[in-house]
Symmetry: C2
Subunit: 347 residues, 2 copies
Amino acid sequence: MSTIKDIAAEAGVSVMTVSNVIHNNYARVSPATAQRVREIMARHQYVPNMAARSLISKFSHIIAVLLPVWHGSAASMLLDPYTGQLVGYLEELLREKQYYVMVCSFQQADEVLTLQQTWQMDGMILVLPHEDAITRDLIQRAQAPLVVFDRYYEDLPMLSVCLNDRLGGYTATRYLLEKGHRKIGFAAPTIYESSVIQDRFQGYLSALSEYHLQTKKDWLFDGVVHQEGGEAVAHALSQMSDRPTAIVATEDLLACGILKGCQERGMQVPEDMSVVGFDDSMPAQLITPRLTTIAQDIRQKAATGVQQLFHAMEDATYRNAHAVLDIRLVERQSVWDIRHAGAGADS
Amino acid sequence: MSTIKDIAAEAGVSVMTVSNVIHNNYARVSPATAQRVREIMARHQYVPNMAARSLISKFSHIIAVLLPVWHGSAASMLLDPYTGQLVGYLEELLREKQYYVMVCSFQQADEVLTLQQTWQMDGMILVLPHEDAITRDLIQRAQAPLVVFDRYYEDLPMLSVCLNDRLGGYTATRYLLEKGHRKIGFAAPTIYESSVIQDRFQGYLSALSEYHLQTKKDWLFDGVVHQEGGEAVAHALSQMSDRPTAIVATEDLLACGILKGCQERGMQVPEDMSVVGFDDSMPAQLITPRLTTIAQDIRQKAATGVQQLFHAMEDATYRNAHAVLDIRLVERQSVWDIRHAGAGADS
DNA sequence: AAAAAAAGTGAAACCGGTATCATGAAAAAC
DNA sequence: GTTTTTCATGATACCGGTTTCACTTTTTTT
């Protein structure tokens, strides 16, 4: 563990010369000296100390990837296949640019602010697989550039990356309508508190209204999450007299729970109950029947967020941007075509 | 962003006194002074700078959680529900002790060593959802305490946390035998290169030998991974004349792929093909029929690893420990009882 | 040939803490 | 009453880099 001084001493130059070599400051050091210093560094396996560097330069090269603790269970924060994949891509993209990822669960904005200060974090990325209460607070009080995934507030300057969620909700619903469904429900972890789910919901409503249809209060399932939530929905459906023939679910795992719950309660899927999910994550391929879902390009999403972050780190005036990414429908077998009572999606 | 000097100046004391207050060094500062300084720190929202601290103290309070890049695709590194959950628990446990998690994907030991040096990482945790080539190299060359999950080398001093994998393989196989199965296959991402899978395999073999049975070369599926791998196994099975009646698969997703692939090829599951998985991760509950699997306590696993790590950080002689955690069989519906041809596991 | 500019290098201060040791005052021991 | 010990606090060096600026030497300009 040699320091810059050891290298300088061995090369017979000052530490400044070594520093200039490290930073490829060609204008300030002769090629011959640079070459000699580089060899000595290689031989010693010299690596600069980030603590010393960031102490004076004020750049830590650390990016916080913030994962809100959900329902008091920090443990499940990365369980979500979508979140895991997104974090994986973020790490990859940031590392390319010599930035490093610190994953941090948190419950309050204060925690994050303290964290940011202690580590002098250059930027922060908020990954929101689910609803949380503190995003707004954090956006307003953040001391470093902050990019938020899957949430936006129109009245707040912020950097965000979302999907075209309205189109997503619309596309899912429209697809069901075109397959002949007229009684279509909607299930989500929280319909009214999340901007993106609200958008999906609005898309759902507008597709219905194009067919001069309305939703029904009983067909709206709010506060249902993951597979358990989906099974609860299935239970409710099984008890219902005027039951919808299809459900739009805002996450795949929820959709899978509905399918599975319906099956276990003796319904045929998709014949008796069709479902469209969101995300195209791993469960979509695992469930029988395979899930028709609104897919997103997670890698592109990560790249967009990183781009925004770096833009903001370079330009202090860039603090308001809202990226909206495309979605696409992935057609599989979880939707029944009730027009000709054909077999699944491809009839 | 006030510094320790600002606080000291305002309190009319030296920086050392402030430092002692921060570290609750009761013996070195009077209660009255401590109180006064604390108030000023609170008012300024003072937070110590980790870079400055670690520069001199040599403790960064950073723990690297290393995730090997798998098949050149960094992206999928956290996709695995098991890995995600483990990382989540690790973050939670480390944060409690004021240590912070840097997630790092990597391909070569050199990368890690460089990383460890630049950040002066206090410790490293290697999470190995799958086989990799460089673990051995890394263990030998690590400059900081390193805890390895799910891998061990008998000839190398190292800190590791594994399951009782031999018992796991044995239990899964024994269970199938007791349900009347006599033709039992084994599927794994790599049977011969991973210590833990080798253990599971040995457990499988020893259970068979208790019944005076042997495996058959055709019933061993090596190099099959995830759902796709499982579906490939299913394909192979469907082509087979003398086909096993049950398979032990070393990961849930693989097991699920087999079940799903068999279904799609017209077999009845579990009637025509029973499967036992490993991990009890999310897919186990999602598949139809729900998967019988060898479960592990991931939280306990994380806690054990963290414990080893801290022990090693405090005691430089503690560099060789091998924790073996219990497993348990979770009985669900993916195994057919062929003795009385009853319905599923509970007949 | 003298003056100006550029290139190459180094000295010293500095970032924000911690470690070490010194200092002065009060308390305890003799 | 003097000496010793304890207690509370401070002065200073230091960690390993970067920034700033000064200093030579060489090259270019006039």
